[in-house]
């Protein structure tokens, strides 16, 4: 078994064993604490340019399911785990994790002390990392010299619009690097979906005559996107119902005057209880969060805080006071993670239905 190293920007190195692709990569290292769903995690574009450390001690043990990809071309930069299994022996003849990672040129490293890495990262903060063959001075020089792009969205979002037809509500999804779960949940509700590029203008979007608009999840910092996006959001929220998720939620907040802060310790997992303020109900959902909304910056004449994280106190949901526009930081589609919050999509569809009905009597 080939031995390889995981090296961190601060000079630490971990010896482990290789699986997946044998290429050398560099990315931002992040910790994911979700118990299951390694396939959804690795294929989620939110991990663009990131090396994912799994706290779950063993992955690869269920192969890959053809219905559970969150994107066609994963762009994560690496997988770090304690124990890796290469099982794909079930009746469905699934692809193994090893083969999948090789196919997409993503290196993996296992048999490293992931607990130690997690403690180290919690202490030292966010940093770059590489998976390399030798941990010498040259490798560290390369790591330090690598500049990671802050234009992640344009790297992973669709450059052209495409249709995902259905018989129901006409929904435009603005793609900031979406995960398939969003389309899956809208399709389940029969929506007629058009996915448009992240830099579409409000005119282009409203010309499609949508019943509602969804701002998708995506990688990177919302502050690295141009202000035109915020202008688009302000125009669209006045015109039609809007649901914003993840990065979309952060942009929705910015478009309504709120400020964004980078989290000292990024949170990728589904173990934080989230409180819905209006009902005081607590639930769990998948969260992939490197940034948060500065709750002090929220203009309460424009936005309500609808959900809050009970562990780190971050804003997990917002709603506009004057328009049927609302947003969630977490992933309501539950791929992976709990499906507790999947009703967010029902709410969105119901709001679109209400708007359509309100001008005429249906019966």
């Amino acid at each position: 078994m080939t031995e390889r190293y995981l090296i961190l920007e601060d000079g630490s190195a971990y010896l482990g064993k290789a699986f997946g692709s044998l290429s050398t990569t560099t990315g931002e290292i992040v910790v994911n604490s979700t118990m299951n769903g390694y396939q959804e995690i690795i294929s989620n574009q939110i991990y663009h340019n990131q090396i994912i450390v799994f706290t779950q001690s063993s992955i690869g043990n269920t192969g890959l399911d053809q219905n559970a990809y969150e994107s066609i071309m994963p762009t994560a930069k690496g997988v770090v785990v304690k124990e890796y299994e290469n099982l794909a022996t079930d009746q469905f003849k699934r692809i193994s994790l090893d083969r999948y990672l090789k196919l997409h040129r993503i290196p993996g490293i296992y048999d490293v002390d992931t607990r130690q890495i997690v403690h180290h990262l919690r202490e030292k903060g966010n940093m770059k990392a590489s998976i390399v063959d030798v941990a010498d001075e040259h490798a560290f020089d390369q790591l330090h010299a690598t500049v990671l792009t802050n234009q992640q969205v344009s790297q992973v979002a669709t450059p052209k619009p495409y249709a995902n037809p259905g018989d129901g509500d006409n929904v435009v999804v603005v793609d900031f690097g979406l995960k398939s779960g969003i389309l899956r949940e809208l399709s389940k509700r029969d929506c007629n979906i058009t996915v448009v590029p992240w830099n579409s203008t409000s005119e282009m979007i409203l010309d499609l005559d949508p019943d509602g608009v969804v701002l998708s999840t995506g990688p990177g910092a919302p502050t690295s996107l141009p202000d035109d996006v915020l202008e688009m959001i302000r125009n669209v929220q006045e015109a039609v119902p809007m649901l914003a998720i993840g990065l979309g939620h952060e942009l929705f907040a910015m478009a309504n005057d709120a400020q964004i802060v980078a989290l000292e310790s990024m949170h990728y997992g589904s173990n934080h209880p989230i409180r819905e303020i209006i009902t005081n109900e607590v639930f769990y959902a998948g969260q992939e969060q490197g940034y948060a909304i500065d709750s002090k910056s929220i203009n309460h004449d424009k936005l309500y805080i609808t959900h809050a994280d009970l562990i780190n106190g971050t804003v997990q949901g917002l709603r506009h006071r004057d328009y049927p526009a609302f947003s969630v930081q977490f992933s309501p589609d539950g791929a992976p993670g709990p499906k507790d919050a999947v009703g967010v999509f029902d709410d969105f569809v119901e709001i679109m239905a209400r708007r359509r009905d309100s001008s005429e009597t249906r019966f």
Binding site: I278, T279, R321, F326, D347, E350, F363
Partner: protein, 178 residues
């Protein structure tokens, strides 16, 4: 056993959405009062009031309206009607110049709402009256429509729509009974 249309979660979400829409439509909660139509409308009105309390930290008054004696499909003893009209209400606030939200469980023919409108008007002159219902099942016999609807359930007149609320029925659900 009927067919389940809304379960507990869906019912809660519908009330939550109605609450947000009430604030959105009224541009705030100033002068807002809730009047629930007995029996189940009262519990739904209280739940909306609880949500407004959570959301805006304001206490919105909730009244209980019994429209039995205003119904046009029940024969009344004409001499005593004025005395008994108000007897079963529990509304300890003035509706004068208030934005009234009437709350009921099911909107059907519109006759209950018509009766409720007369009853509220007898109490004073509100600034406006809006109607919030959990279920709109169609088949109106009067020109009445709801401003806030939890769920449209197109139904046949042969069917019966039953709303259960935890406070008196021990569960939250909406069912269609054939």
């Amino acid at each position: 056993m009927g067919k389940n249309i809304l379960d507990k979660m869906a019912m809660q979400r519908a009330l939550t959405r109605i609450t947000y829409e009430i604030v959105e439509r009224n541009k705030g909660v100033e002068d807002l009062v809730l009047i629930g139509i007995k029996t189940r409308g009262v519990f739904l009105a209280e739940r909306i009031a609880n949500r407004l309390q959570q959301l805006e930290n304001v206490s919105i008054p909730v009244g209980e309206l019994d429209i039995t004696n205003y119904r046009d499909d029940i024969e009344h003893d004409a001499t005593s009607i004025d005395e008994i009209k108000m007897s079963n209400n529990n509304i300890d606030f003035s509706v004068e110049n208030k934005r009234v939200i009437l709350v009921d469980d099911v909107l059907y023919t519109g006759r209950t709402v018509r009766a409720a409108l007369s009853a509220v008007m007898d109490l004073g002159r509100p600034k406006s009256i809006n109607l919030a219902v959990l279920v709109d099942r169609g088949h109106r016999e009067l020109p009445i429509r709801a401003d806030f609807v939890g769920k449209n359930i197109p139904s046949s007149q042969k069917e019966k729509i039953k709303v259960y609320v935890n406070e008196i029925d021990g569960k939250d659900a909406v069912e269609i009974l054939k």
